[in-house]
């Protein structure tokens, strides 16, 4: 496996391993396990934000709303309608993606800051619907006794550790999907849109359709995160869908690093723990967290993972320059076009590199 030599992949795997082992340290403490598991649910939603914001460069502020739709779909269907968790979860995720796709049809007619405001309005509409439509959503009394997933006699998901591993397994799939997208031409498509929509269009990218699908994908992850959250917590109220939730997600991804594979996980876990740590201060915790975030945006605008990634790139480049001459003769000069011979001998010719086939 060539991938194991890649520090980025190694780093991501290390972070996942640390998270996977947390039940060994905190397995007996149900409260901490729940905090971590809720954090993982948020992480999944943040992975959705990573696709639309990190990869595609569109600041969507509807993610909290999508999270809420996923949560309420599972909450209401498993209680008022007595569906099983899995049925409700499936319908919730598909429904959230569909709502995401449809709202994207209108939202993506706007650009940049207008898109941000428009999606924030979508988030508000979802929140208001949930908090006011008493007949269906029970408004502020919320939904109680959301079902745990059932797995026959195999696993008892009311056990916090079992629930943790279920959420963790789904998170792993989300991380892998992000990784697969990042490396494929699909990811390249989204990244070209982030850099320049005009240039993307000029090289044949269907910008409108790609943005549309990215937005639906972000809703898809939001729905998964929300659906799992409802089951983990057992009780949900309208605050599962607030715009505050969106900004929480935004903070997670800013801290972790937009457009990276490990960023959402790292950011969410770190900020969640800071939140817990300063919990006694309630609203005042932002007095401490605010400056930390400002410092981060100033000194590491690409987030923690982006910052570390910068080191990796730098080292890789230095190593490449270090290997000058060793294989300079291996490159065939004759096949490089009619004018290449005129260009040999320029200084840049020394930066011949080893081939990176993957």
């Amino acid at each position: 496996m060539n991938g194991l030599k890649n520090p980025r992949i190694l780093g991501t795997l290390a972070v996942l391993l640390v998270v996977a082992l947390t039940p060994i340290a905190f397995g007996d403490e149900a409260y901490i396990m729940r905090v971590i598991t809720v954090g993982l649910c948020s992480t999944i939603a943040v992975y959705g934000m990573n696709i639309i914001l990190g990869f595609t460069g569109q600041l969507s502020l509807a993610q909290g709303g999508f999270f809420g739709i996923g949560a309420y779909a599972v909450g209401l269907l498993t209680t008022d309608f007595d569906w099983s968790f899995w049925q409700a979860f499936l319908v919730g995720v598909v429904g959230t993606s569909a709502i995401g796709y449809l709202s994207g049809l209108i939202a993506l007619r706007t650009k940049d800051e207008y898109f941000a405001i428009f999606t924030m309005a979508i988030g508000f509409i979802i929140y208001l619907t949930i908090s006011r439509w008493e007949a269906v959503t029970h408004a502020h009394s919320g939904v109680n006794n959301v079902k745990f997933p059932a797995a026959g006699d195999l696993v008892d998901f009311s056990n916090p550790t079992a629930m943790f591993y279920l959420v963790f397994a789904i998170l792993l799939i989300c991380v892998y999907i992000t990784y697969a997208i990042r490396r494929s031409s699909v990811g390249r498509t989204l990244l070209t849109i982030r850099t320049s929509e005009d240039l993307a269009d000029a090289i044949g990218v269907n910008v409108g359709l790609s943005k549309q699908l990215a937005f639906a994908a972000s809703a898809f992850f939001g729905g998964i995160g929300g659906g799992l959250y409802a089951s983990v917590v057992g009780f949900i109220g309208p605050d599962a869908a607030t715009v505050d939730k969106t900004f929480e997600f935004l903070m997670f991804i800013l801290v972790g690093g937009m457009g990276t594979v490990a960023g959402p996980l790292v950011g969410t876990m770190i900020v969640t723990f800071l939140f817990e740590f300063f919990q006694d201060f309630q609203a005042y915790r932002f007095i401490v967290l605010g400056p930390i975030i400002i410092a981060l945006v100033i000194f590491a605008p690409r987030g923690i993972v982006g910052y570390l990634g910068g080191f990796v790139d730098k080292r890789a480049r230095q190593r490449r320059i270090g290997s000058v001459g060793a294989n300079a003769s291996s490159r065939p000069h004759d096949s490089t076009g009619p004018e290449a011979s005129a260009r040999t001998g320029t200084s840049a010719d020394n930066v011949t590199t080893t081939e990176e086939k993957n």
């Binding site: 850099t195 005009d198 044949g204 480049r317 076009g337 086939k357």
Partner: protein, 256 residues
């Protein structure tokens, strides 16, 4: 005929940026559009490629009407373009830039990427090879791991051509490809453009450097104030009195 432009026009408000242009681009040729600043050269390109919608006339590519098609459809159909001010993805390496040009020829979806299907693997390898080949053809393969913002202007220009090549076009629209390149390197760059038809890529270009155009183009269209002033071979254009008056301006002093 590869590209047929008939009566093409674009009005901005009360101004005719381009008016009543007819142009045929032959397969296997280099066709050039010249004219003073503001003559409507870039507008003409934007009309062909679909960035602007024409207000009159039609464009046909390989006999198919593409007057109303959007840029990404044009690229898909086989027309690539480069921009006057070099447009690259600055934070990416040259190889990644050229790989972006492969997107339009990639058929694998998210699901192929997730399940790592044979199609995805085959396509990734093919894209990598084609991108590398395009970089080599343009003579900038040795810079492939450098960030686009870190290489000299000339390398950027060549990379822009490589990126356009990676989309496997039949026709390439080059908007001032040699702009910003030092005079002594334009010959090399001209050779690159001249070698494109041998790859089956016909060229339509806008250029200011007359010396370069005269040695490069098979056919030249001269625009002035958005309208056709003359069309013909380099020799014909050089001896055309209208062109000399309007563009080369050598008789201007005498007239005054």
């Amino acid at each position: 005929m590869l590209l047929e432009i008939r009566g093409l026009g674009k009005r901005f408000g009360g101004l005719d940026a381009v008016k009543n242009i007819d142009l045929d681009v032959q397969a296997g040729q280099v066709t050039a559009v010249i004219g003073p600043n503001g003559a409507g050269k870039s507008t003409l390109f934007n009309l062909i490629h679909g960035f602007y919608r024409p207000t009159a006339g039609s464009v046909a590519f390989n006999g198919r009407d593409i007057t109303q098609s959007s840029p990404h459809n044009s690229v898909n159909g086989g027309i690539a373009r480069t921009f006057q001010t070099t447009h690259l993805f600055d934070d990416s390496t040259l190889l990644e830039n050229v790989l972006a040009g492969r997107i339009v020829r990639s058929k694998s979806t998210v699901f192929d990427a997730i399940f790592h299907t044979p199609r995805h693997r085959r396509e990734s390898a093919l894209n990598h090879d084609k991108a590398l080949e395009a970089l080599e053809f343009c003579g900038v393969a040795e810079f492939r791991h450098d960030l686009a913002s870190n290489v000299p202007q000339e390398v950027q220009k060549r990379t822009a051509v490589a990126m356009a090549l990676a989309t496997e076009p039949e026709l390439m629209l080059l908007d001032e490809p040699a702009g910003g390149i030092p005079e002594e390197e334009t010959t090399d760059f001209g050779n690159l453009i001249r070698s494109l038809p041998s790859r089956g890529v016909s060229v339509l270009l806008v250029e200011h450097k007359m010396s370069m155009i005269m040695g490069l183009a098979d056919t030249i269209l001269v625009l002035d104030h958005g309208q056709k002033l003359a069309i013909g071979s380099p020799a014909e254009i050089q001896s055309n009195p209208d062109v000399i008056r309007a563009y080369l301006g050598t008789t201007k002093d005498e007239e005054n």
